[in-house]
Amino acid sequence: MADVNRGNRPLSPHLSIYRPQMTSMSSILTRITGNALIISVMLIVWWLLAAATSPAYFDLANGVLTSWFGDIVLVLSTLGIWYHFLAGLRHLYFDAGHGLDIETAEKLGWGMMIGSVVLTVITVIVV
């Protein structure tokens, strides 16, 4: 029976020794956008709660969300959610066993980056 390496394994690969690559960058951006989006969700929940509570509270939340700062946060949130959306689709495609060769993975990475910007522009125009 194989009793190899029951000792301490490293938690994560030592990313700092690698040159940045499309595969690693598109992967870490997925994690960053996914986790950052909780801030967007909490902002929207706060705004809903304010709308449900009182006119004065709504004015406060609405003022924050429609200020220039709120606009920046919401546009970045849109970019983040579309990027994470496309990354999730790629992840499902990977999970099904497709597109795992480096060339395809890199192409899909560019598709996610460019696609998320395009979808964000469309969202800002439509919504």
């Binding site: 029976m1 194989a2 009793d3 938690l11 994560s12 994690r31 996914g34 986790n35 989006l37 909780i38 969700v41 909490m42 929207i44 929940v45 706060w46 705004w47 809903l48 709660l49 709308a51 449900a52 006119p55 709504f58 609405n62 969300l65 429609t66 919401l74 849109t78 959610i81 959306f85 999730g88 689709l89 992840h91 499902l92 999970d95 969202t123 439509v126 919504v127």
Partner: protein
């Protein structure tokens, strides 16, 4: 001589303790969100910037209220498990457990607040 098989020793020893179940949840919720999120962006994006009367009128209608509620629940639970994966990659020991508990608490608090607000508006 060890009597435990290699498989028996490995079960439950992954970072999360229940890796396949966790991964399956992420796949199921990802597919659900792929359908929910575009509509969610349209509804909430259109509602933001409106007057309080307009916002209340939007979320008093069944479709926007239900879609926002379910996207909030599935989305935040997807965050919950995704954030847990991140914590398991970068933290260990008690810090890992404390951070995971914090994320679970934050997730349920966010969902509860959103559902309360939606319920108060819709009912």
């Amino acid at each position: 001589m060890r009597y435990l098989t290699a498989r028996k020793r490995a079960v439950g020893k992954g970072a999360s303790g229940t890796g396949t179940e966790h991964h399956w949840y992420m796949q199921v919720s990802a597919v659900a969100l792929a359908f929910l999120v575009p509509t969610f962006i349209y509804i909430v994006g259109s509602a933001i910037g409106g007057t309080q009367e307009e916002v209340l009128a939007t979320f008093a209608r069944p479709f926007p209220a239900i879609l926002t509620g379910i996207t909030l629940f599935v989305g935040v639970m997807h965050f919950n498990k995704g954030a847990q994966m991140m914590i398991e990659d970068y933290a260990r020991g008690s810090m890992r457990k404390i951070l995971i508990m914090f994320v679970i608490g934050l997730s349920y608090a966010t969902i509860a607040t959103g559902v309360f607000a939606l319920g108060k508006i819709a009912l």
